[in-house]
Symmetry: C2
Subunit: 195 residues, 2 copies
DNA sequence: ACCTGAACACCGTTCAAGT
DNA sequence: ACCTGAACACCGTTCAAGT
């Protein structure tokens, strides 16, 4: 079986799913494939390019939103699904967060998002601005969910000290609830923008 | 001059300002200080703890917002200033984005932000949710601004292809304008939440 | 007891040597 | 011409040896 870029990316994605982000090194991916590390460089110019491909692959199963739904629930669907898919792939989630992929799947999502925002009544440049704000927010929520184990402790301590809420009632940083709250704020904000 | 944790953090911040994030390794920081790399471990348990300290230091000069201003412009002031201060320190900006610091300065900012949000009329748990959404957004905007050189090309290509706008009129990813647009959406969203 | 630096177990990538 | 793997220039951190 000859190496190909999609075969490498696919193997790397699965390796990351199993062993986490620490496994996503050129050397370990090569070992997993049973090839020389340098063989990968025949298909990708460098590690970042490989990770970009893996990241885009991880978004392959993001569902297309119901076209009959309103623009706001379509936006919510796309972004919620993208977040969930990214979190299903722990090896590459951090990379998606730091560099939203613009491969075939990323482009499909961006087009879908732009369509919904245009339908909301935003101007063309408003669509671009709003899409970037939404993508930035999803990326950040992803980064937080990704290291939630570490951050929860820090943040609930801070929040409970400052707000006086019992820790158990605090939202988990990076939780779905927190994510959806911020998404609602942004969608409310877009609605205010066009009304 | 004996080593101390604040002396180390201060030197690391300046080194990063000069030589960028690649210079923020234990070995290079130690070389800059003229000490053994292991000497740093007598003051910080590991590299992440050192970077957390440096990150908090970078936020030292974020201005306290005018207390007479409305909650919305206070929120805007705090976050705009935090973003600007972080970007003034290229060595640590990416770390701030991935792990909003909770040292003395981070706590001061968080308290300030929470105060403004409480005044907006949010419930205690709404304050926590909204603060986290805002911090996540700033972190993401920071991450994008930080690698803007690379991303601009990717995104303007995509956006102009999909929206049909000339590339020159597109917002630069990670620009102040883009940042402020998203911030306005979130603040609009908060206003909608409490009305 | 304290401190140092050699050593360990890794990296991404270059490049010369082999086929 | 193609491919391999040794080598380069790094990492963060451990730990044994020195003072």
């Amino acid at each position: 079986m000859p190496l190909s870029s999609s075969l490498i990316a696919r193997a790397a994605l699965e390796l990351g799913d199993r062993d986490g982000p620490a496994a996503m090194s050129m050397r370990r991916i090569a070992a997993d494939l049973g090839c020389d590390p340098m063989a990968i460089y025949r298909h990708f110019p460098n590690r970042e390019a490989l990770l970009d491909a893996v990241a885009d692959l991880a978004l392959a199963e993001v569902a297309a939103p119901d076209p009959a739904a309103g623009w706001d629930s379509r936006v919510r669907e796309i972004l919620t699904s993208a977040r969930a898919e990214a979190l299903r792939h722990p090896g590459i989630a951090a990379h998606i967060a730091s560099r939203p992929p613009l491969g075939a799947n990323g482009l499909r999502l961006a087009a879908s998002l732009n369509g919904a925002l245009a339908e909301a009544g935003l101007s063309p440049s408003g669509v671009v601005h709003a899409a970037q704000a939404l993508i930035a927010y999803v990326a950040a929520a992803l980064a937080m969910a990704n290291q939630a184990g570490v951050r929860d402790a820090r943040w609930s301590q801070v929040s409970s000290a400052m707000i006086g809420l019992p820790g158990s009632e605090l939202p988990v940083v990076g939780s779905v609830e927190q994510f959806e709250y911020g998404l609602r704020l942004l969608i409310n904000g877009i609605r205010a923008e066009v009304s």
